[in-house]
Amino acid sequence: MTTNVILRIATKVLIPNILIFGLYVHFHGDYGPGGGFQAGVIVGAGFILYALVYGLENTTRVLPPTVVHICMAAGVLIFAGTGVVSLLLGGAYLEYNVLAHDAIHGQHRGILWVELGVIATVFGTMVSIFYAVAGRKGMD
């Protein structure tokens, strides 16, 4: 953990805003620039910032590596699962029109779920890779 007071206080103020901004980018990806990839990277960057300032042990206590690995796989499952749900509801694979009473609402709902899957995978991958690289013991 760094002993620099400015860094620690600034991080405490910034990280909740970063996480909420990531959620905002996801939900407003329909109306402005944004979407799953950007949101996933932003949320991952928030946690990586916490790890850089407060140390890797504190971060693994907050977000255990097992949770991150599961998140990484769950994202792909959510994405593929949305397709299976639309199969079960009578449409084709990944046809969002059947997911709600109306085609446009179905598209909105399908896009939100699919982008959630993308967020989970991107976030999980970025944080897992960071844990793996940063947790490696050096040669000396």
Binding site: G35, G44, I48, I104, Q107, A132, V133, K137
Partner: protein, 186 residues
């Protein structure tokens, strides 16, 4: 006005690229690659692609720099001066570059609305998207709805890369004083 910004940003990109080539201190090279990504994100904004600029600045400036610096701590900071002759790579590069630049004279001018890239499928996406998908962000509509299969494959690729990194790096590193034969391997 945007042409001036375009020309200036591309010139800065060239200067940064040349500096990355010449610099031997890897820490400086990685910071310069962050600057390179930021300049290209600015370029994407002037070329009317805000989604791409968003992603490039988050990924190229944030995540890539952190990962490279993390690897640099384990690998070493200085590049050794190159020993072998660099005449052959230079000849190959100049030859390939010459052929490509000659080919680039045939590309339609920058900003042409009758570009072949704007024909066929793209007018259909732009015009029919309000009835079929109803989402304001056309890039999101194409990404998640019209080309949903590609996005699923891409998510699987990211997952596979994450699994690959975990396989390579998850085993605990053997310390120098432990006996041989005890290496935890994956």
């Amino acid at each position: 006005m945007t042409e001036v910004i375009d020309i200036a940003l591309l010139a800065l990109l060239v200067v940064t690229g040349l500096a990355m080539l010449r610099l031997r201190n890897l820490f400086g090279v990685i910071i310069l690659s962050g600057i390179y990504s930021l300049l290209s994100a600015g370029l994407f904004v002037t070329m009317d692609a805000p989604d791409v600029a968003f992603t490039e600045s988050a990924v190229g400036v944030g995540i890539a720099t952190v990962l490279f610096l993390g690897a640099l701590a384990l690998v070493g900071h200085e590049e050794r001066p190159p020993q072998r002759s660099r005449v052959l790579p230079l000849i190959v590069v100049i030859g390939t570059g010459g052929i490509l630049m000659y080919g680039m004279t045939d590309v339609p001018p920058f900003g042409d609305p009758d570009n072949p890239a704007q024909q066929h499928v793209v007018p259909r996406y732009i015009q029919q998207q309000p009835e079929e998908v109803g989402v304001d962000n056309m890039v999101g509509a194409v990404l998640a709805s019209y080309r949903g299969y590609d996005t699923m494959g891409e998510t699987a690729v990211i997952f596979a890369a994450g699994v690959g990194v975990l396989i390579l790096l998850a085993g605990r590193r053997r310390r120098a004083d432990e006996p041989e034969g005890g290496q935890d391997d994956h």
